[in-house]
Symmetry: none
Subunit: 215 residues, 4 copies
DNA sequence: AATGAATGAGGGTTCATTCAT
DNA sequence: TATGAATGAACCCTCATTCAT
């Protein structure tokens, strides 16, 4: 395979090709920026900080991206990928609507906690340029729509009690996205624990057998 | 100093004293700023915008506050007041732990939706100066602690199933605070509807009679 | 007259109103910038230099203009005013086409040499934003058109020999605009001398009695 | 150093020597740069554009020149060569002063219109480093001086009326150099037409038989 | 009580230039 | 011979803050 750089298998491909190095560095940049954006917000994060964290000059960043906006946008894209991966996972392995929801919730939370830096950036939608925001919102809306689809499916197949799909999605996504405010990697709660617990709370909240309210 | 009170009763107190006028204007400033901070974020909001919305000059603001930071801090104080009011309300009228939680949830949501502008500012904790942030976090922690107290009370009095107080509070507060991202006054969902629905979802999730989880 | 500032005639209006001061300073800014643009070109001129020449900070300039582009644009407007003033003068006082041309040439040169700084900026058309450039070019084209009109008039009334209006205008305007490269105020040649001489050269070049060309 | 010549006759000299290739590429670089400088001005032209036009990388340019300044300087040298070539031509073939002037004018205009890119750079004298500018100005002054010499010669031999040599040169050189602002190759006016017309206008302006002024 | 004017610090971005490969 | 990568200096512009009036 001549493709994959000029090293054609030598050194067991341990040496990376230029393109691979470039991609690697660019990704490192994006992740570092995502972390910073999450911590201080987009507008309060200077590219100097990002550069310093990477050990390079501010100007060097512009070799990999064309603007600060592009960084924010790409971070969003990365985060949205997680959501879609979780959706795909749920669609593939879940049978009932409820099962799909639980699978989605758990998987999404696992991805989120594993890559909290990239995901927290989702709170910065308002800092996107109108054009970029439109793209992001479109994908996010699509995510919500498919999520709601699970709920409707669950109500139809009897696995869920009668609930409002829209508000339920907002409810849960709020709980999840808020993670970025308090979750600390290697902290008291690990990702799996949270994933299980949140999925459990959600399940009890929407399950059809649950009829506690108003008792 | 007689100068601190009202116009000694003249005009039947219809005319506001200097202090009252000052306080009124200052509050107007804070609310306008809160609205702007919520819409665009603290760092992306220029004081010119706030001033313009009030019909004065940027420089005039400095007669009522000493810095942009102070504005943000005061906004936080206002928002935290809502939370504490809801807590007090729950403590006063709830009997079981579960009842208190539901009362708290519903009341807090009602206050939030009624004054979303002031509350959305809570998402801007990171923009606070270290010193101010400490104060805000302390009050918020106190809120969380009392909230968790309700949960523990509920588990003790049998109204709640066995759950993790900390994560449950985070879970719910996340769902609630996320409101600031999608709730629109006079939009399709009104505050009361949301309050009821969210409280219901929460109740089902934590109620003792709920044992749906297939696990 | 309350109009004219708050000074209502007191002090014989020696004291300038705010608005007048503002306009004065803004004009000073424009002239200083025009001078700098002429000397070093638009892109090589930093606003720091302009500010320093005015004894203020770079940021202060932005109180009077909204961008460097605006400065350049306004400079063009000022320069174009001179051209139109000269045109109006010629149209008013000239009888034959030739007379108008000579009047235009002489007056324009006088204005130019008197305010060389502002006029030299005309060489920087390419540095204008597309939108601004369009406006400037439109006015300049209008100037050329009216100039050419004089020539056609002169050929019709017999005061000029048969010449190409377009090239003649370019020819003369080139000679004139080139002034900005070599003319120095208070130098060996004063404005009036140049104006007379250039007008004379032009006149001989286009006059009907002139039939020197050996061809 | 045998290394300086050709490949010792091999390949019938079809293959160019290193030095020749180098010179060829360097010249290509200069011409491309001159074109760009003319179009956008020295400071607004990025070396990336020049490099892209040549199909190489920005860094590659530095193999042929040592700085952007050097490029500008060499462009000036090329342009000045044209002027001197025209001078030599006029001195060789003209008899009277007037003849020389007309020959110079026509030839210079022909060279200019044929290679407008290189010549337009003459408008960028101010972008030269002081040291380089001095050299350029020296050559340009020499050109002017010889031009003026023709005029004096013409007045002495009776072919020209009494005129001011200095201003006349400025006048004409302005008209000529302004060409770079409006002349478009393959446009409505071709080089020869312009050359003839401008030379004609000049001739009428300075010819001894012309005595129209003031009539 | 409020404004006009000015400042200084900082941010994003561009670009000529360098250097190892 | 030419490239990828990086740098540092400079530039335009914004904004919170101050102060005389």
């Amino acid at each position: 395979m001549a493709k994959g750089g000029r090293h054609s298998g030598a050194w067991k491909n341990v040496v990376l090709s230029r393109d691979e190095q470039f991609a690697l560095k660019r990704t490192a940049l994006l992740r570092e920026a995502a972390k910073a954006f999450s911590a201080r917000g987009y507008h309060d994060t200077s590219l100097v900080e990002v550069a310093k964290a990477l050990g390079v000059t501010k100007a060097a960043l512009y070799y990999y991206v064309s603007s600060k906006q592009e960084i924010l946008f790409e971070c969003h894209m990365m985060a949205l990928d997680h959501g879609e991966a979780a959706l795909a996972h749920a669609e593939k392995h879940g049978k009932t609507g409820k099962e799909k929801i639980i699978l989605l919730a758990r998987r999404y939370l696992e991805l989120l906690t594993a890559d909290i830096g990239s995901c927290a950036v989702l709170a910065e939608v308002n800092s996107l340029d109108p054009e970029n925001r439109a793209k992001v919102v479109a994908r996010r809306d699509d995510f919500d729509r498919r999520f709601r689809g699970f709920i409707e499916e669950g109500m139809a197949d009897g696995s869920l009690r009668k609930i409002d799909p829209k508000m339920t999605v907002f409810f849960f996504m709020g709980a999840v996205n808020w993670l970025t405010r308090w979750f600390v990697p290697n902290g008291p709660y690990d990702g799996e624990t949270i994933a299980n617990y949140f999925a459990d709370l959600l399940e009890h909240g929407i399950d059809n057998r649950s009829d506690a309210a108003g008792a």
